[in-house]
C-alpha cells in the first residue's frame, strides 16, 4: 500500500525497466522452441519439404492431430488413466509427504538426523529395475493402476522441500496454537495447511507433473492396453507413426494419395497433446502464490 504513495526514485525506475526488459527477452527465448513445436504440429506436409524452419504455416493443417487423437476411444482411456493418476496420486502423495515433512520438521525429534538420512539415502542408492519389478510383482500390483502410484508415492526431494517450508513458519504461530490447546491433527489441519498454500501448491504441482508424465512405471508394470497412461500410449503412437506402416489413419491418408505425414509433425502433435493439459494447470497454481500471510492475520 505504501508503495503506491511513495514516488519511485530514478534508480528504481531504471531497475524496473531493465528488469522487465530482461524478463521479456527471457520469455521470448524460452517461448521460441515451443512456438516451433506448435507451428510444426499444424503445418501441411509441403512446408516441411521446402522450408528449413517453418515460421508460419502456409495453411492450417490438423491432420496430425487426427492421427494422434483420432484412434477412436482408446486415447481417451489413456487420458482418463492419467487424469486419475494426476489427481488421486497427487492427493495421496501430497498428504503423506506433508505429514512426513511435518514430523521431520520438529527440531527436537529424537533420531531426527537418522530418520532423514534413512530417507535421503534411498535417493542415491537403488537396486535397479529387476528387484523393483520383483517387489511389485510379489505384491500382486502388476497390471493395476496402483502400480503407478504406490512405488513412487513419496518423493524424498519434495518432502524435504516441504519440510523446509514448514520449518520456516514463524514460531509464534505454533506457540499460540499450542497454548490454545491444539492437538497434532488439529495443528496440521487448522494451522499448517492454511499457511502453507504456496508450498502445498508447489509440491502439489511437482507431483501432478510427475504423475502426468508417468512413463517407466507404466511400461514396466503394466501389460494390459487398457491401463496405459498417456505418455506410454503416445510413445506407441509415435513409434507406429514414424514407421508409417500399420497405422490406420496413415494408411488411409496414403491411399488418398496424400503425402505421408512428416514425422516431425506427428511428433509435434504428440508433444502438444501430452503437455498442453498440464500447462493449463499452472495458472490455477499461481493463485496460491499469495504474497505473505502476516502473523497478524492468523490470529483468528
Amino acid at each position: 500500500m505504501y508503495k503506491n504513495i511513495i514516488r519511485k526514485s530514478v534508480g528504481e525506475q531504471i531497475f524496473l525497466c531493465l528488469n522487465n526488459a530482461v524478463l521479456f527477452m527471457l520469455g521470448f527465448a524460452t517461448l521460441l522452441p515451443f512456438y516451433i513445436v506448435i507451428v510444426n504440429s499444424v503445418s501441411p506436409p509441403e512446408d516441411f519439404l521446402f522450408k528449413e524452419i517453418i515460421i508460419w504455416p502456409s495453411k492450417l493443417d490438423l491432420q496430425y492431430y487426427k492421427v494422434v487423437l483420432g484412434k477412436g476411444s482408446t486415447i481417451y482411456n489413456a487420458y482418463k488413466i492419467t487424469a486419475f493418476l494426476a489427481t488421486a496420486g497427487t492427493f495421496i502423495s501430497l498428504a503423506i509427504t506433508t505429514i512426513t515433512a511435518y514430523v521431520l520438521a520438529q527440531r527436537k525429534l529424537p533420531f531426527r538426523s537418522l530418520l532423514t538420512l534413512f530417507m535421503v539415502f534411498t535417493m542415491y542408492f537403488s537396486g535397479g529395475m529387476i528387484p523393483a519389478y520383483l517387489v511389485v510383482r510379489y505384491l500382486n500390483l502388476i497390471d493395476t493402476v496402483w502400480a503407478m502410484i504406490i512405488p513412487g508415492m513419496i518423493g524424498t526431494y519434495n518432502m524435504l522441500l516441504m519440510r523446509n517450508f514448514i520449518m520456516g513458519i514463524p514460531g509464534e504461530i505454533i506457540e499460540a496454537a499450542t497454548i490454545d490447546g491444539c492437538s497434532e491433527l488439529c495443528m496440521i489441519i487448522k494451522i499448517i495447511l492454511p499457511i502453507s498454500t504456496a508450498s502445498m501448491a508447489t509440491i502439489g504441482l511437482f507431483y501432478a507433473v510427475q504423475y502426468w508424465n508417468t512413463f517407466s512405471g507404466g511400461v514396466l508394470y503394466i501389460n494390459s492396453a487398457k491401463l496405459r497412461p498417456l505418455q506410454v500410449y503416445l510413445h506407441h503412437i509415435l513409434n507406429q507413426a514414424t514407421l508409417q506402416n500399420d497405422f490406420k489413419e496413415l494408411g488411409e491418408l496414403m491411399q488418398q494419395g496424400r503425402y505421408k505425414p512428416p514425422s516431425e509433425a506427428v511428433q509435434a502433435a504428440t508433444i502438444m497433446s501430452a503437455t498442453l493439459p498440464i500447462i493449463f494447470v499452472y495458472p490455477f497454481v499461481q493463485k496460491y502464490f499469495v504474497k505473505g500471510i502476516t502473523v497478524g492475520s492468523l490470529k483468528g
Binding site: F15, L26, I99, Q106, G128, V135, F289
Partner: protein, 303 residues
C-alpha cells in the same frame, strides 16, 4: 541419559506413530530392492538366478577404469558439472527475484508461465531444435553472424563450444521450472518487513539483499547441498542427444561412455556396478556438502 531419551521418545510418540507407515514404505520399496546392488559384484545370469551367479569381485570396476577413455570422460564430467553448478544454480534464484519485483501483474504471469515451458520438452526435441538453430547453412545464429560479416560456424561440431552448449541448453531448459520453488518461498515473506524497510529508506537492492535473500537462505543452502551431490554427474539424456563425434574430447561424459562400453549389451551386472559407483560418489559429495552447510546455516542442512 537413557531416561531422558526414553522420555523424549514418549513425548514425541505420536510423531513416531505418524511416520511409521512411511518408514515401512521406504523399507518395502527402496531398501528391499536395494539388495540388488550386490549384483555389481557378480556376473549375473538371469536364469541362474541370484545365488548361482558367480562372484567376480571388482571385475567390472577394474574393467571400466582400465578402459581407454575413462579418465577423459571423468574429467569432462567433473568440468561440465562444475560449470553447470556455477551458471545454472544461481539463475533460477535471480529469475525468481526478478519476477517478484515485476509490477505489471499480467506481464509477470505470462513470463512466468512461458519460462517453464522448455522443461516439458525432452532432450531429443531440444537437440533437434538446437541443430536447426545452430546449423552453419540455415541456422538463425549463423545468419546473424554472416550479417555482421563473419563466417558461419558449425557449432555442434566444434569441440571448443560443446561445454558452453551443455550449459546454455541446460539453462534454457531448467531456469523457469527451477524458479518456481524460489518464488513460492518468496511469497512466504512477511510484507511488513518490506514496508518497514521502505520507511527506513532502503532502496530496491538493499531490500533484496537484506530481506529477500536472507529469507530464502535455508532453502538456497539446501538446494546447494543437493546440487553438490550432482557434481560428478551429467545427465545421460542430455549428453546422448547433444554430442557428436568430433566433440568427444570435451563432451564425452561418464554416463554416456559407460553406456557405450557395456550397458548396451545385456551386461546387467555391469550397469549395476556403474550405478553403484555413481551412488557412492554422490553420497560422499552430499555428506561433505551437508557437513559444511551445517556450519554455515543449520536450518539448510539436510540431516
Amino acid at each position: 541419559m537413557n531416561k531422558s531419551l526414553g522420555n523424549q521418545i514418549y513425548k514425541y510418540r505420536i510423531y513416531f506413530l505418524m511416520i511409521l507407515p512411511v518408514i515401512l514404505w521406504y523399507i518395502i520399496f527402496s531398501y528391499i530392492p536395494m539388495s540388488g546392488i550386490l549384483l555389481a559384484f557378480k556376473d549375473y545370469s538371469v536364469y541362474k538366478g541370484f545365488s548361482e551367479s558367480p562372484w567376480v569381485g571388482l571385475k567390472w570396476f577394474r574393467f571400466i577404469v582400465n578402459s581407454p577413455d575413462f579418465f577423459r570422460a571423468f574429467r569432462n564430467t567433473v568440468v561440465i558439472s562444475f560449470y553447470m553448478l556455477v551458471f545454472t544454480f544461481p539463475a533460477p534464484i535471480i529469475l525468481a527475484i526478478m519476477l517478484n519485483e515485476c509490477q505489471r501483474r499480467y506481464f509477470k504471469r505470462i513470463v512466468q508461465t512461458i519460462s517453464y515451458l522448455p522443461h516439458f520438452l525432452s532432450w531429443a526435441v531440444i537437440s533437434g531444435l538446437m541443430i536447426s538453430l545452430l546449423s552453419p547453412s540455415v541456422g538463425f545464429v549463423n545468419q546473424i553472424i554472416k550479417l555482421f560479416g563473419g563466417e558461419a560456424i558449425y557449432f555442434m561440431a566444434e569441440v571448443s563450444y560443446i561445454r558452453a552448449l551443455y550449459v546454455i541448453s541446460a539453462l534454457w531448459k531448467g531456469i523457469g521450472w527451477g524458479s518456481i520453488i524460489y518464488l513460492a518461498k518468496i511469497t512466504t515473506i512477511d510484507p511488513q518487513l518490506y514496508e518497514s524497510a521502505i520507511i527506513d529508506g532502503a532502496g530496491k537492492f538493499k531490500q533484496i539483499w537484506h530481506i529477500t535473500l536472507p529469507s530464502m537462505s535455508s532453502l538456497i543452502t539446501m538446494m546447494l547441498v543437493f546440487s553438490s551431490a550432482g557434481l560428478c554427474q551429467v545427465g545421460f539424456e542430455q549428453a546422448y542427444n547433444l554430442i557428436i563425434s568430433p566433440t568427444y574430447d570435451k563432451g564425452m561424459v561418464i554416463d554416456y561412455y559407460v553406456y557405450r562400453m557395456g550397458v548396451q549389451q545385456m551386461k546387467y551386472s555391469f550397469g549395476t556396478a556403474v550405478g553403484l559407483a555413481n551412488s557412492v560418489i554422490s553420497i560422499i559429495l552430499l555428506a561433505t556438502a551437508n557437513t559444511v552447510a551445517k556450519r554455515i546455516n543449520d536450518e539448510g542442512a539436510i540431516w
